[in-house]
Symmetry: C2
Subunit: 501 residues, 2 copies
């Protein structure tokens, strides 16, 4: 894969040249090209999954499912492109009686920002990598994409790019629609290139912050959408434990051990009432789980360090000790580790304990009463991707409502009676939360709303019909939703809400 | 006004305490409070306009109009709050047949980000100051506001805050809903305060960049929406000159001289065809215009410097020399200055000439043929708020289409057959463009879409109806638009766009 400065320049120029061509495609052409890319990925499943297994250690079942998800994402965005509400078309009719003097004809819609740079993730070699959600949403917005491949799966990245670019280019997309670069320096150089208009990232808080700072410090700053770390606190009420302890335990263990816990939505802290009596169930549920390889030696070493810190902290007791072994070649193999700690010990040792453990480890936090949960959470946590509650099926109480409120103020998704892993790819999904969960909590990196990251509005004032873009024309040839604001309305603005005074 | 560190802490805490209370108001309560604020401003018109005239030197007519605009903005946003589409409610029904395995019930909407800090502008003492568009849109979003008053109109800022806060607080808003601080250091300290969730700014590129960098460098970065400088290039085709030279000249002169040219959308460069023969018309139109005071001594001095640089540049010829005198107390008084320069001299001396002249000055640029306009514009300009075209009434040509395309790539609003000053406050307005026009070109600071700057999405997964917020409930008590995504659809995503292969 290209890494030299001259390559960077050529790749950026190809993306810049592709941008106006791709932006000018009709919705159906753009959608058809994206569906062709989805089909091509599925068609190459055997080859791609085999490479991915070797490079990441993830299971075949997981990778087949992830490839399917990646194809479904592309197809979802094909529908979104044609449906057209992402364009947010607003038409203000000219209005001679406008409250502030004659109003011109104004028409506003969203246009693509230009070439997007996407830093891909280690833990989703398909769904957050070359053809993943960031790429699909940028392509749908009308932007060419340059992917900085993750060093954990270089061959897969290159092969995926070949397949996707060929499918797109033979279905109406310009040369340079999807390109791949590799190496940290190449990524930084590209992020600084003036031809890049926006960037997305999935990875650690440390690297994400470094890149966000680079994007903000450019002569012309660009938006940087980083999905960083999250510990995803989960809370179980006493009523929930009483109702169905065994489903709770099985669901929790599945959520922390799937993909060896290497998921950004893994619940890292589970608040349980003192006297929960779940220890033996946890052991029974976790012990049969086989060793799972960790993604790469760097992650194995990071997990070993975090796990040692946690196990070595005063007040921390192993419930399920679990295992971690690291081969001579640095690859790590792990089974789930579950520890418990009292709320007061967690408060005392929060500097050591509150941090993401990227692997199959979670911390049970024993609390005394439900009124203490919000004050505890306020003390312990910054922003998160998710927060989870398990309550009794008919439970309703002030502390419960207060806890839901706390989650929505500090996370992007509130999960009730389930687990945060397994993020649905759909229109109402929100994958993104307050710092440090993301650099920018007004957006999502999963689901239909992800397209908004790569759009910019522009208004046309009194432009004749013959010179307007299709979505803004009165004859609306693409059939997109148009929100019309008729003349004459401005004088009644607010009148209905005028108080008696 | 409060300026000390202890005040900053108290003010930030009051805003933080007000945030959940204001966020929890019903749409009608929030709207009624905003309309009461609008009414209170209009009721105090005589007092407020008198203070504003003295502090800014703007004319009574202009200030009366601006106060009306400020009230209309508050009323527009009251309607937007109740209408509810800004909440972007999306409901995914639970779907056992979802393409990627069972989908939970997911419901997403926008919530307020929290306390907003608004740096107000010198040139709009009402409409971009204490009760201006940034404040109105933040209040509508459900956020308390702290305004850093502009030093150019301190008494007006304080009095406006008293009136608006009293009206809001006696109509259901919490204490601390709108507060004012003053002084650059207080503004910087507040911008760094962890209780501030977003900031907006209208002012110079230099100060805007400094503040944007501070916002990005915080331990927890926050979005910073800065509206900075713009030179707003305008282009007149040969056909337009032939059709109606005199209206063109009168419109142009009015646009550059209104409010003494101290508007961010003033057309700073007007491209005219060689042989335009407009000089004597420009003189006739501009010479009767009376001297207008500039806003403050700092702006007067800045205008003197820019004007001297422009008049002293090789190749620049005055068409209307205009005047500038500065009193002993530093106040400046000006009449319009219009100069011309050839396209080639502008290219040669662009370092001196391409910059905002904040005052009643504009540069005519004489071009040879319309094919040269896009290449010229590419060489000369970065991002702008607006770009303007005057063409013949039936004109259509490749260069004309190419020029519209150039404007939409480099500006937020394309104006056709009019002038960019006089920004309509309405739903389809876009006031914001690529850097350095704004720090963040995905948003607007004028019009209904301005509300989106102060919102953040959150999803609720499988939360029981009784615990959901009103906008997400099936019984929809607020009657807001809900976009429902029914079960069973995912399997057809993209199918309609599958190519023959």
């Amino acid at each position: 894969m290209p890494t030299l400065a001259t390559d960077i320049d050529e790749i950026a120029q190809r993306a810049a040249d592709a941008a106006p061509v791709w932006a000018a495609t009709t919705p159906r052409t753009r959608a058809a090209a994206m569906v062709a890319a989805a089909d091509a990925l599925v068609g190459a499943q055997a080859e791609l999954v085999a490479i991915a297994q070797e490079e990441t250690g993830l299971s075949e079942a997981r990778l087949v499912g992830e490839l399917k998800r990646t194809a479904v994402q592309l197809r979802l965005f094909a529908d979104i492109v044609v449906e057209g509400s992402y364009l947010d078309v607003r038409i203000d009719e000219a209005d001679a009686a406008f409250a502030l003097g004659t109003r011109p004809d104004l028409r506003r819609y969203n246009i693509p920002v230009g070439p997007v740079l996407n830093f891909s993730a280690s833990n989703f070699p398909f769904a957050f990598s070359v053809a993943g959600g960031d790429t699909a949403s940028a392509l749908a917005a009308g932007c060419p994409v340059i992917v900085k491949a993750h060093s954990g799966h270089p061959r897969l990245s290159e092969r995926t790019a070949e397949i996707v670019a060929a499918a797109l280019e033979s279905n109406g997309a310009p040369t340079g629609i999807v390109q791949v670069i590799s190496g940290q320096q190449a990524g930084v150089d590209m992020l600084k290139d003036p031809r890049i208009s926006a960037a997305s990232f999935t990875g650690s808080t440390h690297v994400g912050r470094m890149l966000a700072d680079i994007a903000a410090a450019r002569p012309a700053p660009i938006p940087f959408y980083g999905e960083l770390g999250s510990v995803n606190p989960a809370f179980i009420t006493r009523a929930a434990v009483a109702e169905d302890a065994s489903s709770l335990v099985d669901g929790f263990v599945a959520s922390i051990s799937g993909s060896a816990g290497q998921l950004c939505t893994k619940p890292g802290f589970l608040f349980v009432p003192v006297g929960h009596n779940l220890d033996s169930r946890l052991v029974d549920s976790a012990e049969p789980i086989a060793e799972h390889r960790l993604l790469n030696p760097g992650i194995a070493e990071g997990y070993r360090e975090r796990r040692d810190v946690i196990l070595g902290t005063a007040g921390v007791t192993p419930v399920v000790e679990g295992s971690l072994r690291i081969d001579d070649d640095g690859q790590g193999w792990a089974t789930p580790t579950i520890v418990r700690v009292s709320a007061s010990d967690l408060l005392l040792h929060r500097e050591r304990l509150i941090d993401e453990a990227f692997g199959p480890l979670s911390v049970l936090v024993e609390y005394d009463d439900e009124e203490s949960l919000v004050p505890l959470a306020d003390e312990l946590f910054e922003g998160n991707l998710t927060g989870t509650i398990h309550a009794g099926s008919e439970e309703d109480s002030a502390p419960l409502r207060s806890l839901i409120g706390w989650i929505t103020r500090h996370a992007g998704r509130a999960v009730f009676g389930g687990w945060p892993t397994g993020v649905a790819v759909t229109l109402a999904q929100q994958h993104g939360g307050p710092w440090p969960a993301t650099t920018n909590d007004s957006s999502t990196s999963v689901g239909g709303a992800a397209i908004s990251r790569f759009l910019r509005p522009v208004s046309y004032q009194d432009v004749p019909q013959r010179l307007l873009p299709e979505p803004l024309r009165d004859d609306n040839p693409w059939g997109v939703p148009q929100e019309r604001n008729p003349a004459g309305r401005s004088t009644s603005w607010g009148e209905a809400y005028r108080t008696a005074s």
